[in-house]
């Protein structure tokens, strides 16, 4: 569950877990997070939490609310965001997906639609009108916060914890280009900056060069005959491209090379 750490001048004052759907921050005692300082408005800001996501909304405070140094009206909080209210800082932590079992977090789950009769928890209606559209949604969503994960015990035994955020630990792919060696465009170089670059003549013979995390590949796209790579016909499958490989397509020779 996400939490906020309240500090002033680098000194931690307290930690607050965002367990409520709506958390009020302000100077007056009824606030969930009370900051007793005259720079803080009576009701200064609110944090709306919907399952794993939290939003902060300035409630028309006198001195404003900053997130990461910028004044905001409403902001979708991300892990490690710093909220500033006067001299006080609130750091937002939401590390749920980084924990073990992250795979479960990403599994599709059903949440039931709100029962119309269910009393909406104290929420947006009390908020000032500066964000009228979000308010009804917040209350509607609150009724739905009963997630129904199909049998947690079973799910825990599901696949091994993966590396959820790191796609690949490849070294950044080097820039590469194609130089045309024959035909009308001889001498021209084509930088392979896009993920997909097509070469050849549409309707006659076309191949695509794909830029992937693990290198560049060439694949036949259309035409009755296949292009050739270093003198050998490509066939229908993808082939990795090496430095100074020679491609021949639609009667034109070209060379693939990594840029220095």
């Amino acid at each position: 569950m996400a939490k906020l750490i309240l500090s002033v001048d680098g000194q931690v004052l307290k930690e607050h877990t965002l367990s409520k759907e709506r958390t009020l921050i302000g100077r007056k005692p009824h606030n969930d997070i009370q900051i007793d300082n005259l720079a803080v408005s009576g009701e200064h800001a609110a944090i709306i939490t919907i399952l794993n996501d939290s939003f902060i909304e300035d409630l028309g405070s006198t001195n404003g609310t900053l997130v990461n140094g910028k004044p905001i009206k409403k902001h979708f909080l991300q892990n490690n965001d710093v909220v500033e209210i006067g001299k006080h800082k609130l750091k937002y932590f939401n590390d749920a997906p980084q924990q073990a079992g992250a795979a479960d977090f990403e599994k599709t789950m059903i949440i039931r639609s709100p029962v119309k009769a269910a009393p909406p928890p104290a929420t947006a209606p009390g908020a000032p009108a500066q964000a009228p559209a979000p308010a009804p949604a917040a209350s509607a969503d609150a009724g739905m916060s009963r997630t129904i994960p199909p049998s947690p015990e079973v799910r825990a035994a599901a696949p091994p914890p993966p590396q959820p955020t790191a796609p690949q630990d490849h070294a950044p792919l080097r820039d590469a280009a194609i130089q045309v060696l024959s035909g009308a465009a001889a001498g021209r170089t084509l930088d392979l900056t896009k993920n997909l670059t097509t070469i050849g003549k549409p309707g006659l013979q076309v191949a695509v060069i794909t830029k992937r995390p693990n290198g560049y590949f060439i694949t036949h796209v259309e035409g009755t005959t296949f292009p050739s790579l270093n003198g050998t016909s490509l066939g229908a499958t993808a082939h990795p491209l090496g430095d100074h490989d020679m491609i021949e397509i639609a009667g034109v020779k070209m060379e693939f090379f990594y840029k220095p």
């Binding site: 949440i111 949604a137 969503d141 199909p150 695509v208």
Partner: protein, 291 residues
């Protein structure tokens, strides 16, 4: 409409005038991705009647694939049984549309009951369910039904449109203006759907009919694709590889895997290679006899 019925009754009559399997070029691929050890997505098609079904199952153990497998096979078989081209061709266009609508709803309801009952009676399947997208192409239109966050995209010209709107918490937040599309990409509530097949005793699919145009590309996909690959990259891939549907689906699945492949990924691509309008009126039907 009374006159043509005589022609219609001729054996091998005008019903054979449009061959939908020829008009639509298709390719599909499903892949477990890079993280999951089994595939809970399921795809089925009946190219001879222009029917395409994709489901993304959920629920503990292997129950997700039970649900998606039941959904795709029950719906594909059920619709195919009730959608006999020779008979449908005799209907006026609006009636054919209405029949498609009714048939898909019936079969979705039947699949829902079957999955729900199975999950009630088998503890190992408790709580299983599936998202769904169904496309039935006929007479230059496509009937699209969906439940949950499996999607249908359409590329027309250079523009990519998301035809279905997810039944998800995130989509509701977007609709209400609580978050912006940019913020949605950062949301941690991406995986929460508000509707699924087989979870409750009844479910209503969302159903719409769209006119097709020659050259359109229709992409049915599970969230494993659109969560891993940005819409813009999907668009560029569809445009760049337009002439080769099977390479397109391979490239899309590969891109999802290259970006992390955190979920099962499925893609079905349907290209409207030529119009597939059903000849109507006695002259058009007469002409169609000689094609």
């Amino acid at each position: 409409m009374a006159r043509p019925s005589r022609i219609a009754s001729r054996p091998g009559g005008w019903g054979a005038a449009v061959n939908i399997a020829q008009a639509l070029q298709t390719a599909s691929l499903t892949d477990p991705g890079r993280v999951r050890d089994h595939n809970e997505d399921c795809i089925e098609s009946r190219p001879e009647i222009g029917l395409y079904v994709l489901a993304d199952g959920m629920g503990g153990y292997n129950a997700g694939e039970v649900a998606s497998g039941m959904a795709t096979s029950l719906i594909a078989d059920g619709v195919a049984e009730g959608w006999v081209i020779r008979d449908v061709d005799k209907l006026p266009r609006e009636e054919a549309m209405a029949l498609a609508d009714r048939l898909i709803r019936e079969q979705v309801a039947r699949a829902n009951t079957a999955i729900f009952t199975t999950s009630q009676n088998n503890p190992e399947c408790a709580g299983m369910g599936t998202t769904l997208v169904v496309c039935l192409f006929y007479d230059n239109f496509v009937s699209v039904a969906h439940i949950g966050d499996s999607r249908l995209y359409r590329l027309r010209g250079e523009a990519l449109d998301q035809v279905t709107r997810d039944h998800s918490l995130l989509q509701e937040q977007l609709d209400s203006g609580l978050i912006t599309p940019e913020e949605a990409k950062l949301s941690q509530n991406k995986n929460l759907v508000t509707k699924a097949l087989g979870i409750d005793p009844t479910v209503e699919p969302e159903l719409h009919v769209h006119e097709t145009a020659e050259g359109d590309l229709y992409l049915l996909c599970s969230d494993g694709l659109n969560d891993m690959v940005e819409d813009e990259e999907i668009r560029l891939t569809l445009i760049t590889l337009r002439s080769n549907p099977s390479l397109t689906v391979q490239q899309l699945v590969q891109a999802a895997n290259d970006n992390g492949g955190r979920d099962n990924v499925s893609a079905m691509l349907v290209r409207v290679a030529e119009p597939f309008g059903v000849p109507r009126g006695w002259f058009a039907r007469f002409k169609a006899l000689f094609r």
